[in-house]
Amino acid sequence: MIDFVLILRILIFPGFTFILLLTLFCDWVERKLEARLQNRVGPMVAGPGGILQPLADFIKLLTKEDIEPRDAKKTVFKFAPLIAFTIMVFAMCFLPIDGASVLSTTGFNGDLIVILAFSTIASFLLFLSGWASGNPYGTISSARVLTQFLGYDIPLFLLALTPAFIAGSLSMFVIAQSQTIPYILLAPWAFVLFMIAMQAELEKDPFDVPDAESELVGGLETEYTGAKLAFLHLTRDVQIVFGAALVVELFLGGPYGPVFFGLPAFWYSLWFVLKVLAIVIVTEYITTLFARLRIDQVLSANWRIILPAAILSLMLTVAIVTWVYPLV
């Protein structure tokens, strides 16, 4: 028996098409916000208020000529962007978006670890795509990507364990659902540190090092053209939405919020989109307001400040949850 509802959920809502449209919309929000903070207007011509601009960029890139440099390693060069994109979308499918995940299940115990692992694999594939382009800029940039995301993965995992500890489970669904009081209020230190570590994982300012235009031309994307470049850009954008969605699930109570009338699924998706937008706006503010740090400053910030702070935050949360909150 073909389960049409399941196929519809995977392909349209809250699956692939919904994630794609949400990504393009968040891209537009980012560009407009950055333009406004810089005293400018941003995209205006493509569609009303420029809202179709990311879509126009994507379609244009799909129809460009595909060039493969002679020195590139062919298989990795061809498939790395597409596989990275697929893995990111697949990771998004585990998050409860409208009260349940895409597969309309309640997940399984431990899927927090699984989706964090998927995001690491996707970043690793991005590194490989730069490595395989046969360009010195790509090589140096991908080395920076690897050092940065491997370094910041450790505090990220530790900080993601904080809500898991408070909820008492490693399942995303349980963590999101057991937030009668959102964990941002119960463990605000973990939220702040998680946002900083997420900013570094997503390679946005001030941790923008691998994408440093002024030194490394195009970074790891230098040799990519056409459809592969479109998917590289999309992977980056889906990573941003994924990061925001993770913050929403872990700290802001997921899609759960007041239901006023009608279908709870509709209200849950609305709250989800609004919360994701709020986090995207906060990360874009931080991006616009800071300069770019050097790679050694980024790494020393990680090993000297963020990682010890993450360990301390976990210890603090364990102490407070075990001894203080039961008294309250």
Binding site: I140, A212, S214, T288, Q297
Partner: protein, 524 residues
């Protein structure tokens, strides 16, 4: 210091009595004519008296049977020209880079364009000319015609294989988002640390000095202006000032004040440009957008005074072309008052913003001794504690009458250079307001003759990037015999080659932009 009180001329006269001929008032403070080989002794004598001696330029002249070499030297007290000659058949002369290391690039240029061989400073390949240029043809010699030179086909000499082993050779340019202009820097890196920087200049070499010899003086103003789109009034003024010195014209005072206003407006827009560009290099796009937003009213002012946003061509021989209306002065003052209100915000940003300081402090440090030895000019020198400013040392136009401060910092890093430029913005606003308040009435221009008599003159201008030097030689016709331009970036590049070593790759863009490089000026 008692040493600087000693007259340099009397020292030279006492040391090298019969071997030199001194002509006072010519080519600056004095022109010292000597024979081949003795230029080193004259330089050593000057260096002993004044430690702040540096080479401004080395001009090569085609004098028929000989090639004349003029070593233009600047000291704290005066500007000297040391003249020698070498025969064309055997153009060999001893180098001076052991006395003054900053003269290395000047000698390479003369070797490339005129064919003089400097013993001790070999030039293995073309410096400014392209790799297709045939050997043995020297464009600045009078017998070479511009459209009769046959070019070689492309050779594989320039495309050397990258360094092997741990060292990776990273090539920055000619097409690079950090540089607005094409230049090639081969940076050898070990991991992330730079070990060597080799520049290849000449991508923007358009042969302006040669072209100036075949156009009239008035046409040359428009040609020479287009050496650089950012500091163009300074180039125009340098040329015009040198020609007026040969003609011995008296420029009316109103024209002098208008020239000062144009030069200072140019300094304002150029400093705002650099400060914004530095923001782009450190990844701070917001700062870039803010600075360039504040630059636009200044461009409107430049258009108001000269008629065009970029190439106003306000200067002409004998004065200026356009007058300032009475109703324009309040407009200028309103815009400047607006800019003055914004300067404290930017200063606070540079002082307090942690990410700017993290990227810019202790990056590209140049000590005072190195600055003097390498003959750097402009804000780069003033940030290292080497206080040279043509407006204060050899005042031109009405800078002697206008009170303003000379800005100096001592740390010598990128952050100090940016702060120097920020403070100079305030001083420029003060100068323009003073000039507007004291603008005399009268004519703006005097008529001059088309035929410039035989003679030579030099003119130094403080461009936004540093000291700009012009040497013009007239020969009685409507075209100049020789025009020599020495731009400030040309003097500052050796300092970059030294300060980049030992730093991260990520430090190269801010270090580079803090020099305020203008390669169209360097290559001409």
């Amino acid at each position: 210091m008692p040493k600087s009180e000693i007259d340099i001329i009397s020292v030279i006269e006492s040391k090298l009595k019969d071997k030199v001929q001194i002509q006072l008032g010519h080519l600056g403070t004095a022109a010292i004519k000597t024979s081949n080989g003795l230029h080193r002794d004259v330089l050593k004598a000057i260096l002993e008296v004044d430690e702040k001696t540096g080479i401004t330029a080395i001009t090569g002249l085609d004098l028929g049977a000989n090639i004349g070499l003029l070593y233009h030297t600047h000291t704290a007290k005066g500007f000297f020209g040391i003249c020698t000659e070498v025969p064309k058949g055997n153009p060999k002369i001893q180098t001076i880079i052991d006395i003054i290391p900053g003269a290395a690039l000047h000698e390479l240029e003369v070797a490339d364009l005129l064919g003089v061989v400097f013993e001790g400073n070999p030039s293995p390949r073309h410096f400014l000319l392209s790799e297709y240029w045939p050997q043995g043809v020297y464009p600045l010699r009078k017998d070479v015609k511009a459209n009769e030179v046959k070019l070689n086909p492309a050779s594989a000499e320039e495309n050397k294989p990258p360094a092997t082993g741990r060292l990776v050779k990273l090539i920055i340019g000619p097409q690079h988002p950090a540089l607005l202009e094409p230049e090639k820097f081969s940076v050898t890196v070990d991991g992330e640390i730079v070990t060597k920087v080799e520049p290849r200049l000449g991508y923007v070499h358009r042969g302006i000095e040669k072209a100036a010899e075949s156009r009239t003086y008035v046409q040359d103003i428009y040609l020479v202006e287009r050496v650089c789109g950012i500091c163009n009034p300074c180039h125009a003024y340098g040329f015009v000032g040198a020609v007026e010195k040969i003609l011995k014209t008296d420029v009316p005072p109103r024209a002098k004040y208008l020239r000062v206003i144009a030069l200072e407006l140019n300094r304002l827009h150029s400093h705002l440009l650099t400060l914004g560009h530095a923001g782009l290099e450190i990844g701070y796009e917001t700062l870039f957008q803010y600075f360039w937003r504040d630059r636009e009213p200044i461009m409107d002012l430049i258009e108001l005074t000269s008629g065009n946003r970029v190439y106003g061509s306000l200067m002409t021989i004998g004065g200026v072309r356009r007058d300032l209306k009475e109703s324009d002065a309040p407009k200028i003052k309103t815009v400047l008052a607006d800019l003055r209100k914004k300067v404290p915000f930017y200063k606070k940003l540079y002082q307090d913003e942690r990410s700017i300081r993290a990227r810019m402090q202790d990056v590209g440090v140049l000590s005072r001794e190195d600055a003097i030895k390498l003959c750097v000019v402009g804000p780069v020198a003033r940030a290292s504690g080497y206080d040279i400013d043509v407006r204060k040392d050899f005042p031109y136009e009405v800078y002697g009458e206008i009170p303003f401060k000379e800005i100096g910092y001592t740390t010598g890093d990128t952050w100090a250079r940016m702060n120097v430029r920020m403070d100079e913005i305030e001083e420029s606003i003060n100068i323009i307001e003073y000039a507007l308040d004291h603008l005399p009435t009268g004519p703006i221009r005097v008529q001059t003759s088309r035929y410039v008599p035989e003679g030579e003159a030099v003119c130094c201008v403080e461009a936004p990037r540093g000291e700009l030097f012009y040497y013009v030689k007239g020969n009685g016709t409507v075209s100049p015999e020789r025009v020599k331009i020495r731009t400030p970036t040309f003097a500052n590049i050796p300092s970059f080659l030294q300060t980049a070593i030992g730093e991260n790759i990520a430090d190269i863009p801010p270090n580079f932009v803090s020099l305020d490089p203008c390669f169209s000026c360097t290559d001409r």
